[in-house]
Subunit: 417 residues, 2 copies
Amino acid sequence: MLQAALRAGSAGRRSVFEVFTRRLPEGRRYGVVAGTGRVLDAVENFRFDAPVLEFLAEQRIVDGPTLDWLADYRFRGDIWGYPEGEVYFPGSPIMRVEGTFAEAVLLETVILSILNHDSAVAAAASRMSVAAGGRPLIEMGARRTHELAAVAAARAAYVGGFTSTSDLAAGFRYNIPTVGTSAHAFTLLHDSERDAFRAQVDSLGGGTTLLVDTFDVTEAVRMAVEIAGPDLGAVRIDSGDLLLLAHRVRQQLDDLGATKTRIVVTSDLDEYAIASLAAAPVDAYGVGTQLVTGSGHPTCSMVYKLVARADSDGADAPLRPVAKKSMGGKSSIGGRKWAARRVDADGVAEAEVVGTGPVPQELAGRQLAVELVRAGEVVAREPLDAARDRHARARAGLPMSAMQLSRGEAVLPTEYA
Amino acid sequence: MLQAALRAGSAGRRSVFEVFTRRLPEGRRYGVVAGTGRVLDAVENFRFDAPVLEFLAEQRIVDGPTLDWLADYRFRGDIWGYPEGEVYFPGSPIMRVEGTFAEAVLLETVILSILNHDSAVAAAASRMSVAAGGRPLIEMGARRTHELAAVAAARAAYVGGFTSTSDLAAGFRYNIPTVGTSAHAFTLLHDSERDAFRAQVDSLGGGTTLLVDTFDVTEAVRMAVEIAGPDLGAVRIDSGDLLLLAHRVRQQLDDLGATKTRIVVTSDLDEYAIASLAAAPVDAYGVGTQLVTGSGHPTCSMVYKLVARADSDGADAPLRPVAKKSMGGKSSIGGRKWAARRVDADGVAEAEVVGTGPVPQELAGRQLAVELVRAGEVVAREPLDAARDRHARARAGLPMSAMQLSRGEAVLPTEYA
């Protein structure tokens, strides 16, 4: 596309691309924007270095003029979008990229990859954090997804409401709080469970978390408190009937005087399993597979569509709305869009309003998009906690039905103004 | 775990970890081992550099002696496993890592991340390639998954039977054949569909693939042949009723004399949609979302379990089988395992045989594991085509029912000898 547009003289036409989704995953009430911070890093660093240019040349993927153009590539356009952690609905213009066609079309894949992946994980995390109430959630899914997707997943989970991660690479890269527990292998390495517990407590102190389900849970809990004392930090249960075991272990810990020792449960949890443990004496949940695979929806269906472009080169050439008109439900709405969230008299969100014309006065202060990149420079970097806090606020501003785990429609209608 | 084991003096015990899965994803007939080549790269490069060690020290994640140990870390043990592309079943010992506890336990997450992700994509790819018969399959899912998972997914898809990828980074990294088509944005950029087609043909020649469903398919096909001539390479249809459109477009192309022009279809395809197009005049399938998300199963449930370890340090200390004994379906079988695929009189596979004792004479020549790493050195690098060819052979050796897309049990029983 790039090569043909360069040759045809259309590559320099000012163009507006928008990221949006036509629908939420089936049954979901809201989406969560995540990955925005990673998009900004990716856009800033998007270059074609010598080995890549050589590959493109050797494989004859593009011609000489295109190679020259790619060698100088650097995005110099503008990006606006929903800030990270914000919620979204079908049709929400989540991100808008403006620049020449050539410079903007090249970013399609990386922007969609990041937003589709990270938002899918954040949406699952958000539902799990609703289900967990105020209890801490530990991200433990690294081994269930691609090794670097895992790091991004830990980040997205944190935005969605998780408390910490067991992925040290995510702690290193994004400064997310890290925690860990031991595995069954640690117990089995030693000549007895007693030796294993003693080794762990000797090294990490009594505040550590001991894994108690390698052999017999009751015996392990008894021994754990015997070795670590009543100030033992926590025990982890990773198999069996968690509801039953949590009650039994809590009783046993209390009987042993270990009233402050916490109970951490893991074992293929999802938002429904978490919710079903609400009445159990559980102090923290560790979640893996279902979190990093989006709890049934491992990707969002965000697309990156050309919605307007100029008829000629030049930054001042007027923009013309464009849209695909074909059959099959893939039509889109042309024109550069604004979006605002209308609230009712109590301040509860009641509609996502999207339009292409002037913004109505009463919605001017409720616009959702913020400036992210201006003439190629990132202008909206923020700490990850800002996105996490924003998500908690945005979710709290939705109607109560957003918190239902059951399947349903989007909690806000999208209105086109 | 590492710190406690180092301090307790158990870190140096020779240990055997095995990767296996307790079950296939629901309804699947076989699994596909993929990612082995990436595991070898990861193991070879697994190090702790200065910034990471500083992070671990500053955050007080591990103590001084552990930091010193990590600074010198390099895996010096042995790895055996099913070669890449091989099929697997519940209980198949897909990979075996032997070394000291300390050096082997550190590899758990990276090995599982790679195998769980890549094998999930390869399994979906394999089913899609069965459904496609001999027709080419193009991987087009980059924008639906994490930006680097996408590159690994293109690789795994190739192992599973895909023909090419639209992900240039995967072509660059793994030498996979790359192809591309234009997007609706390219058509919409121009003042007319005619201008867009002309621009593309001028730049890429008549052998290019024109996208014909931006406005009216019939009109677009007519114009495409008018502009490119009857030697037009291909047209792509990305929306609508693909079965109906493929027939109509084929008829139209033939009437226009473009009898060699191919028809490429895309649009949320999965193995079932591909199979349903078997009788349609389709020449290639482009597959995105469902491929890179494992067609409903985005991860495998492979685990990495300690199955044997020595009672003391030293390479000669005898190994003792170990296993978790707790409730909840998570028990495992202790001991270092061999595996062989038994065939019937016609040479068709009839059982996956797994054992811990001596290998029966009649199975000695049918063992599945090969040596991958010896004393820390990779000994089994191979071109990706070798894995792709191996998968085609392994799948062809299974009972015919393996090719059924319908849900069912694993096509081979796993027998414990």
